[in-house]
Symmetry: C2
Subunit: 147 residues, 2 copies
DNA sequence: ATTGCAACATATTGCGCAATATGTTGTAAG
DNA sequence: CTTACAACATATTGCGCAATATGTTGCAAT
């Protein structure tokens, strides 16, 4: 219980502070859509499903992010001539510029996190190991078997 | 960036697994409303603002949780005769029963977390220290000053 | 050619945190 | 007594993750 709360608070804190950094640097990409933008840049053109596969998310989750990116003028789409089901997305010039800014920002953030980890410990690593441990042995099993 | 993702994933994972444990034990209290229920039990009767103060949250956030608890029959409310602004909430019998179940569950969960911490390390402590470090020196300052 | 299935896209709903605006009531200052 | 402010409650909106249902299109098997 209490671990959940603490983790959630930290998650919100990081999201807030990341947003503040983005604002300072003039980055309009939604914080939680950066990986989507990066993946799209690497793929060049991609459908929602392509992006979902690459990100390891559901295509629905990707679909929910796209309208905002379209509205921000960061991406565009066109229909696929070969496959009427697919809508092909790609970055706009503005999207490319924004992504370049983000890449600069990422370098700075990485350094900031290194500094943070040096200060308090390697949270990143411990969180990953915790998540893995919980995937291997979920809470309900930890309760039933008693250990 | 990547820390944020990892923390968020862990947060969702814990919420899911907590929900599963609750389901198994027949607890219908929403996972994120347990502290509210506990606080209300301790106070006996309380307004939304009382609860918010006690929880350290905004009263709006508390207000958003109350309708669901009412719908689940876990709490009731009545008007305050002395102060027409206030709506006084209290647990129902069902709410008391559910909270008792939750308290049993909490003991089990605590043990499960102790086991988890023994396995991977004291995540709880490290997360708290990380959050505190970020409150003292936010990400933007860590970027600007360079350390 | 039709039928059935898979892939893809979209819409809807629910949960949860957060911010903002509005309205109501109580109380204290003038 | 009226006016102004504080406390409280409510409503609305936005963001984000998740689950589910519904269409649509493509393709392969019959």
């Amino acid at each position: 219980m209490f671990l959940g709360r603490a983790v959630e608070r930290l998650s919100i804190l990081i999201a807030e502070q990341s947003k503040a950094v983005f604002d300072d640097m003039g980055i309009v990409i939604p914080v939680r859509s950066c990986s989507l933008m990066t993946v799209l840049a690497n793929l060049g053109t991609a459908s929602a499903s392509d992006l979902a596969k690459e990100l390891g998310h559901s295509h629905q989750l990707v679909m929910q992010k796209l309208p905002k990116l379209l509205r921000l003028g960061l991406i565009q789409h066109r229909n696929d001539n070969d496959d009427a089901r697919r809508r092909i997305f790609h970055l706009t010039d503005e999207g490319v510029k924004q992504l370049a800014k983000f890449e600069q920002c990422r370098v700075l953030l990485r350094a900031a996190y290194e500094q943070l980890f040096a200060e308090v410990g390697d949270v990143r690593n411990l969180i990953d190991r915790t998540a893995n441990a919980l995937k291997v042995t979920p809470l309900d099993k930890r309760i039933n078997t008693g250990g």
